[in-house]
């Protein structure tokens, strides 16, 4: 350049393209699985510049050890020597690897959700909530080096990750701590499973536990009121959803998937799910340690060696349980569990089992032809060794279907009512969302969901039958509700501050004007719009469809006389608002096409009051502080805070 006086080259031919991802090594499961296939993997997380911690835009690792009252040296993932080797080598002995792994798996989990939902997600707004919901104080503009003034950027709302927060067999998400606390503990001296007796076990090195806890935080960001245990399903749903996210991520790990396929003869699922499969007890392999006499026994035995369908193996074994923290294939479908199981994890497992039943049904449906081709070509009916090509095709099908199922579950959240969720609502949300996204459904995914839920007694209360049309949330009739004039949809990268402010105002005004039509009782207080976000998807004809998901919530404080003390009683609707296509060069006003209601009824309030009154004491020593005095003045925020799921207690020892 320079010697020849030519027109300036507008092309930059020398630039090195900024990487979109950062590779980081992590344990595929946990250190306890060290001697098994594929326990180390490389997580590819979105590239961002990191400060030591690591601290990025969405996550910040703060390595404070409450037990020892020290911090641990923070890893600098941008250090060239570390970048060079794709992060530090997996090890239990270096806290900096622990920081790297928590960061990597949390990022990976968030990424999976954002990909599935096609939009950027937000954490619960900790600062905003702590400020009593008031507006942030105006901030002084900052003067840049060149003298120009620009408004100070908003404070990043990061999720804090504390890899060694406490010496307890526990890990949990806490709004108050604005993040996730991971504990460490000594393995059982007598029953340590594959660990050394008395060895220190770190929950922050369990891929599943990190994914599970991060999912709690993600769900809390999407649905603020799912942490109010207004009925027995709410905490169970939070747990189930977190387990689903952790489990489906297993199927993205190709090496493990291939290994499991090889060891199960391609049957990732369990025999008792379908009749044709139950004939296959002669296919038992070495790994199948069960006596094989009882179907349930085989099932649990497969689960015990099948890493895909169990959670947090090291944690479970180290605490003397002799198995993973939770096994998803241990139960035969029955419709009674739903009536007797109350503990959130146990109850959540019913939902997880139902989703996995549907998943395996679709997996077998989609691979049946592969097996048929294989047999027609002279392959064994029940192969002991799968040909590599077949295994690889099966793996592709298994992981593609897993991704699809994860997306279905994630998208269904947008179609759930904003408060007081029940398992049946989730089924309706799944079916409706799926019908909207994939109207054709050639493999019968929706039918598989409905049948799996039915087998486990999960039946939606409002639906008149189990046909698809009656399970789908009803669509709003044309012109039954006026359009939401002025609503802005932004683009998939999010809404600007101004767009958000405008939308909030428009939605609150709309709710106030049309409260009765939406199903609210206008006399029972203001209706707020705790969240709204645009969703973008490609329709069946290749057109871009843009919706806005809006939560509208009305809160009453009930001062109850028989035992609960004051509590918030909320009614809410989820709106799906459709941005009309252009017509003759004009855009019509946005129309509401779903109003998914959880309204105020005497029965619902009665149920909630009953449930709150019966709620066992948490066992926290300071719990009396959580409950407002019976005669004291009523502070809505404090009242609401008294009725939050306590994940710290819920996850304890389980």
């Amino acid at each position: 350049m320079g010697l020849m006086a030519m027109a300036k080259d507008i092309y930059d031919r020398t630039r090195i393209v900024k990487p979109s991802t950062r590779p980081l090594r992590v344990y595929a499961f946990d250190p306890g699985a060290g001697r098994f296939v594929g326990n180390e993997m490389v997580a590819t997380v979105p590239y961002e510049k990191l400060e030591p911690g690591p601290v990025g835009a969405r996550f910040a690792v703060v390595d404070y050890d409450y037990e020892q009252k020290v911090y641990y040296k923070a890893v600098d993932l941008d250090h060239p020597w570390i970048v060079m080797r794709r992060g530090l080598d997996p090890t239990e002995g270096d806290p900096r690897f622990h920081q790297q792994m928590v960061y990597a798996v949390a990022c990976e989990t968030l990424q999976r959700f954002e990909v599935a939902l096609g939009r950027r997600l937000h954490w619960f707004d900790f600062e905003y909530a702590e400020r009593d919901g008031s507006k942030p104080p105006a901030r002084a503009a900052v003067t840049k080096k060149d003298g120009a003034e620009e408004p100070q950027a908003e404070k990043p709302n990061r999720l804090l990750l504390f890899p060694h927060a406490m010496a307890d067999a526990n890990a949990f998400y806490s709004r108050a701590a604005r993040g996730i606390l991971f504990g460490y503990f000594r393995a059982s001296e007598t029953d340590p499973g594959r660990n050394l007796p008395g060895q220190t076990v770190y929950t922050c090195l369990s891929h599943d536990i990190i994914a599970h806890e991060t999912t709690h935080a993600i769900l809390d960001g999407m649905r603020h009121y799912f942490t109010e245990p207004t009925n027995i399903d709410v905490p169970a749903f939070h747990e189930a959803f977190a387990d689903l996210a952790a489990l489906f991520s297993h199927f993205s790990h190709k090496e493990v998937l291939l290994d499991t396929l090889a060891k199960t003869g391609g049957r990732l699922y369990d025999a008792t799910l379908s009749a044709e499969a139950s004939a296959g007890s002669d296919k038992k392999k070495d790994g199948d340690a069960g006596d094989g006499k009882d179907a349930a026994q085989i099932q649990s035995e497969i689960a015990a060696i099948n890493p895909l369908v169990q959670l947090a193996q090291q944690f479970g074994e180290a605490s003397g349980m002799q198995r993973g923290l939770r096994q998803m294939l241990g139960t035969r479908p029955n419709s009674n569990d739903i009536n007797v199981l109350v503990e959130p994890h146990d109850r959540g497992a019913i939902l997880v089992a139902a989703v996995f039943d549907a998943y395996f049904t679709i997996y077998s449906r989609r691979t049946a032809d592969l097996f048929r081709i294989y047999r027609d070509g002279g392959g064994q009916a029940n192969p002991v060794d799968l040909p590599e090509a077949l295994a690889s095709r099966l793996a592709k099908e298994a992981s593609r279907t897993a991704e699809e199922f994860f997306s279905i579950c994630a998208r269904a959240i947008d179609y759930c009512p904003p408060v007081d969720i029940e398992f049946g609502d989730f089924l309706r949300a799944v079916v409706t969302a799926h019908a909207d996204f994939y109207p054709a459904d050639p493999d019968g995914v929706r039918a598989a969901f409905v049948e799996a839920f039915r087998l486990r007694g999960i039946l939606p209360k409002g639906a008149s039958s189990l046909t698809e049309s009656s399970l789908c949330w009803p669509q709003v009739a044309d012109n039954a509700l006026p359009p939401v004039v002025g609503l802005q949809f932004g683009d998939p990268n999010g809404l600007t501050r101004k767009e958000k402010d405008d939308n909030g105002r428009i939605l609150r005004a709309y709710a106030a004007d049309h409260a009765a039509k939406l199903g609210f009782d206008p006399r029972r207080g203001a209706i707020k719009a705790p969240s709204f976000h645009p969703i973008f998807r490609i329709g069946p004809h290749g057109d871009l469809i843009t919706d806005m998901v809006v939560e509208l919530v009305q809160t009453e404080i009930v001062t109850d006389d028989a035992g609960t003390g004051p509590y918030p009683f909320r009614s809410g609707v989820t709106l799906l608002i459709w941005q009309e296509f252009l017509h003759n060069g004009k855009r019509a006003d946005p129309k509401i096409h779903y109003v998914i209601q959880k309204l105020r009824t005497a029965a619902r309030q009665q149920r909630q009051s009953e449930h709150f009154a019966a709620m066992p004491r948490t066992g926290r020593r300071d719990e009396h502080r959580h409950r407002p005095g019976d005669d004291g003045a009523i502070d809505e925020k404090k009242v609401a805070a008294a009725w939050q799921i306590d994940f710290g207690v819920m996850h304890l020892g389980v």
Partner: protein, 484 residues
């Protein structure tokens, strides 16, 4: 039975119909009784000859008496049923734990005198110290008793391996939690220490051995009187009581085996959790990795100061021991034997300390349904007497159940203020008072042992109750009577 009745009806001329019908019913009733005898208790001694039929069955003019002894935080109820053979007595629980008024010996002494050391039936609802210690403390005296029947919850059946394993697990966890909590001196831990002590003390009452002394007393009565029951069982009542028209129905504990295995799983996991010695305070990483708090840098501290973050981490930690204590405590409460008695057209409900899980089963038909079953509504709507569950704690008396109870029924509640967190729950007590039209008697409304009437216990007793305090060799015994 119905068929026979109609057959008679047809053959009898209209005029005499009434009288004959009565006779017929009585006859069939007697036959039915004989049948039950043969079926349920073939090994028993032949029943005493019935006295010439002069007294109509169930028609004794004297009512049934319910007596609540004040012993502190604990249950001690004596029910006296008038029968053809004179009054027969039923003892329901005998124990005290926290807030001991030191009157249990005097009370047992008094009860021994009143009953002539003869009990038709002992019911022990569950194995908590506040329901069983009396048997251990007064084991010599109880050793002199004649007891026809002892009813226990099926969770106590030594032949049920799973139930026994569960009890052992809960006991082991409780012992461990108790040891750890004993090292604490803060007042907030006290109630939780009480909770686990309620389990461990019941195990080791008198002598600190792991042998459940109280259970040994109960199992020591001659004549093999022990029966184990679960919801839905037809209980075996002594003949005199049956002849007097006294009946009983077992409503809890639930018998769902999957529920038991779930409970057991939870107990095991908690047990496992507590056996983990956290880290013994030793460092987990070589010293070089540690950074002093003031030297650790993070951009996060600009948003939330370091000290604030540390304080929030500290506050977010759950108290593992307190949680464990609550769980172990609730598990045993939910093993409670729940009995519904009927006598002379009156119904009486004794729910032990049963909490939500147990109620859910017999009242609501499963935990998911929030509406009372029709039959539960019928039972509660006809209730004449209610022994308030779990000393007046909120989750032992569901609001729905209270609402469904008959207006103006009578209730008794053995309780003591400041013994347990949130017990008795004032709003619930107020709710019961309005439901019973102030016919609620609290055990702290009579003087006993070293305690006077607790002025905080509320208004004076309703006239239907008799509060008595008398002195005997063992001390001051106080009780409240109600005749239904």
């Amino acid at each position: 039975m119905a068929a026979r009745k109609t057959a008679k009806k047809k053959t009898v001329p209209k005029k005499k119909k009434k009288a004959v019908k009565k006779k017929a019913v009585r006859k069939t009733a007697k036959k039915a009784v004989k049948k039950t005898k043969k079926k349920a208790a073939p090994r028993r001694k032949p029943p005493q000859p019935a006295p010439g039929g002069a007294v109509p069955a169930g028609g004794n003019p004297a009512g049934l008496r319910i007596r609540m002894y004040r012993v502190g935080f604990g249950d001690f109820f004596l029910m006296t049923v008038p029968t053809d053979n004179g009054p027969r007595h039923i003892l329901i629980d005998c124990g005290v734990h926290a807030k001991d008024t030191h009157s249990i010996k005097a009370a047992v002494e008094h009860m021994a005198q009143e009953t002539g050391k003869k009990l038709a039936l002992i019911i022990v609802t569950h194995r908590h110290a506040d329901h069983v210690t009396g048997f251990a403390k007064c084991k010599e005296l109880f050793g002199e008793f004649e007891v026809e029947r002892v009813w226990l919850s099926w969770y106590e059946n030594p032949k049920d391996g799973k139930a026994m394993a569960l009890q052992a697990n809960i006991a082991a966890a409780a012992t461990q939690i108790h040891q750890s909590l004993s090292a604490r001196s803060d007042p907030q831990s006290e109630p939780y220490r009480n909770m686990v002590a309620n389990i461990t003390d019941a195990l080791s009452a008198a002598g600190g051995s792991q042998n459940p002394e109280a259970m040994a007393v109960l199992k020591g009565f001659p004549g093999n009187p022990i029966r184990y029951y679960k919801a839905g069982d037809a209980p075996d009542l002594p003949d005199d009581l049956v002849a007097a028209g006294f009946a009983a129905q077992i409503l809890g504990p639930p018998s769902d085996a999957s529920l038991l295995s779930k409970t057991d799983k939870a107990a095991q996991e908690y047990l496992a959790g507590f056996s983990l010695t956290a880290t013994d305070g030793g460092a987990i990483f070589p010293k070089g990795f540690s950074v002093k708090p003031e030297r650790y840098k993070s951009p996060v501290f600009e948003i939330l100061p370091r000290e604030e973050i540390e304080a929030r981490i500290a506050a977010a930690q759950p108290d593992q021991l307190a949680v464990g204590a609550s769980i172990a405590n609730n598990q045993i409460n939910n093993q409670s034997l729940v009995t519904l008695f009927t006598f002379n057209g009156k119904t009486l409900l004794f729910a032990g300390d049963a909490q939500w899980g147990n109620w859910a089963n017999f009242m609501f038909g499963g935990v998911d349904s929030a509406t009372l079953k029709a039959e539960s509504k019928a039972i509660l709507g006809n209730l004449d007497f209610y022994k308030v569950g779990h000393h007046g704690s909120t989750n032992a008396t569901p609001k729905d159940a209270l609402a469904a109870m008959k207006d103006g029924c009578v209730a008794m509640c053995s309780t003591a203020i400041d013994a347990y967190p949130g017990v008795p729950r004032d709003p619930l007590i107020a709710g019961i008072n309005s439901k019973t039209r102030n016919q609620l008697a609290r055990s702290d409304q009579v003087a006993a042992g070293d305690q006077e009437i607790d002025p905080r216990a509320g208004k004076a007793l309703a006239k239907i109750f008799d509060a008595v305090t008398i002195e005997n060799a063992a001390g001051k015994c106080g009780y409240i009577d109600y005749v239904i």
